[in-house]
């Protein structure tokens, strides 16, 4: 299913932080992991991932470091910082409240099942 771009737009930082919560990753690895976890539902334009990562790095939420991958290619890995972990928790909670609120509104509208 294709999503409206604006739906995912505000949540990409949350998704990226979430992807890093279980280990350090480089950009392409994150794209693959996002596709796997979302069952290819999210089609993030891959070029826009890097500005987002760099913004998170500037904000101190992630830290980047170069590392040679098992294939021998040097890559820039990203890891979650303590600040990033706290931000992930806050954003997760924010998302939970938001999605519950949206669901509550939708339930109240009582659209007939298709």
């Amino acid at each position: 299913m294709k999503f409206d771009k604006t739906l995912i737009g505000g949540s990409t930082a949350l998704l990226v932080l979430s992807l890093l919560s279980d280990g350090d990753k480089y950009g392409y690895e994150m794209v693959l992991e996002l596709a796997r976890r979302s069952d290819n539902a999210f089609e993030l334009k891959e070029g826009t991932l890097y500005p987002l990562l760099h913004a998170l790095e500037n904000a101190g939420d992630v830290r980047a470091y170069p590392r040679t991958s098992p294939s021998g290619r040097e890559r820039r890995y990203y890891s979650l910082t303590g600040k990033g972990r706290r931000r992930l928790m806050e954003k997760t909670e924010e998302w939970r409240i938001f999605s519950e609120s949206v669901n509550a509104v939708l339930r109240a509208s009582a659209l007939p099942d298709a």
């Binding site: 392409y28 890097y50 890559r75």
Partner: protein, 273 residues
């Protein structure tokens, strides 16, 4: 793998990043990503040309990426770099401008052989100078005030006899070199030089250049400043209408704004040549 289309995409995407090291790093990161994606596709059996197109499609618009990267990579470092370059350029220009002055000052003030500092007096074009006797005073007086450090490094005078009808037939000239150190560049050429006066042990007063009418036979302290170091300016002062023959000392004074700066020259402590 080498792809001109990938390179073009990456170049455009990073074109908004002004700080070169960042630009190169992001370029490599984006290109590496595209290589990874391309290899995955070709290994899955996608023909190279189609794989290339799919990678570019997955990356999205290079212009859009460029715009976001430009916003994220705020050019603080680039500004700092430009500011540093401008400062360096200004410093170089100042250094270049100060070289001729420095050379002039070096011509005027000759540093010593042995203990005695000698003073090559400013040469004045005149016909018929037939006799000069130069005498050296004993300076090395120091003073400090408001971030300035003054060191009286040289003092010398000469007696001139001259056949030139346009010149005073016989007179004395007296010069002082004062090294003025100040860490603040904007304060190094301040008008303080022209606010100094000089007095001698006989009671003669050589008025400050800024506060004394010029001309006639009024005793007057005047001079010029020459840059002789990064934080150092050397003043070459002359006592016009010298009348301190026989005095034991001459003192440079600055007493404006509650300050009291004094630099003393011992006229008896030098020698003659």
């Amino acid at each position: 793998m080498e792809s001109i289309r990938f390179r073009r995409w990456c170049s455009l995407a990073v074109s908004g990043i002004r700080y070169k090291p960042d630009r190169e790093r992001v370029y490599a990161e984006l290109y590496g990503h595209m290589e990874d994606r391309y290899e995955a596709l070709t290994e899955a059996g996608v023909p190279p040309e189609e794989a290339e197109s799919r990678v570019l499609a997955a990356m999205g618009s290079a212009e859009e990426t460029s715009n976001i990267l430009e916003r994220v990579h705020r050019p603080y470092w680039a500004w700092a770099l430009w500011a540093a370059r401008c400062l360096l350029l200004i410093a170089l220009l100042l250094a270049l401008l100060s070289v001729p002055r420095w050379i002039m000052a070096q011509d005027i003030v000759k540093l010593p052989e042995g203990q005695r500092e000698t003073f090559a007096l400013p040469y004045r074009e005149a016909q018929g100078i037939r006799d000069t006797r130069t005498f050296y005073a004993k300076p090395m007086s120091r003073a400090s005030s408001d971030g300035y450090r003054f060191i009286l490094t040289c003092a010398a005078g000469r007696h001139i006899e001259c056949d030139d009808p346009d010149w005073i037939e016989e007179h004395d000239e007296f010069y002082l070199a004062v090294e003025v150190f100040n860490l603040r560049p904007w304060a190094q050429y301040s008008g303080i030089l022209r606010e100094f006066c000089a007095v001698d042990s006989l009671g003669n007063v050589y008025g400050a250049f800024n506060r004394t009418p010029h001309g006639g036979d009024t005793p007057l302290l005047s001079g010029n400043a020459y840059r002789t170091g990064l934080c150092t300016v050397t003043w070459i002062l002359s006592l016009r209408n010298f009348r301190s023959q026989g005095a034991e000392w001459i003192e440079l004074r600055y007493d404006q704004g509650g300050r009291d700066i004094r630099l003393c020259v011992d006229l008896k402590g030098g020698g003659t040549e």
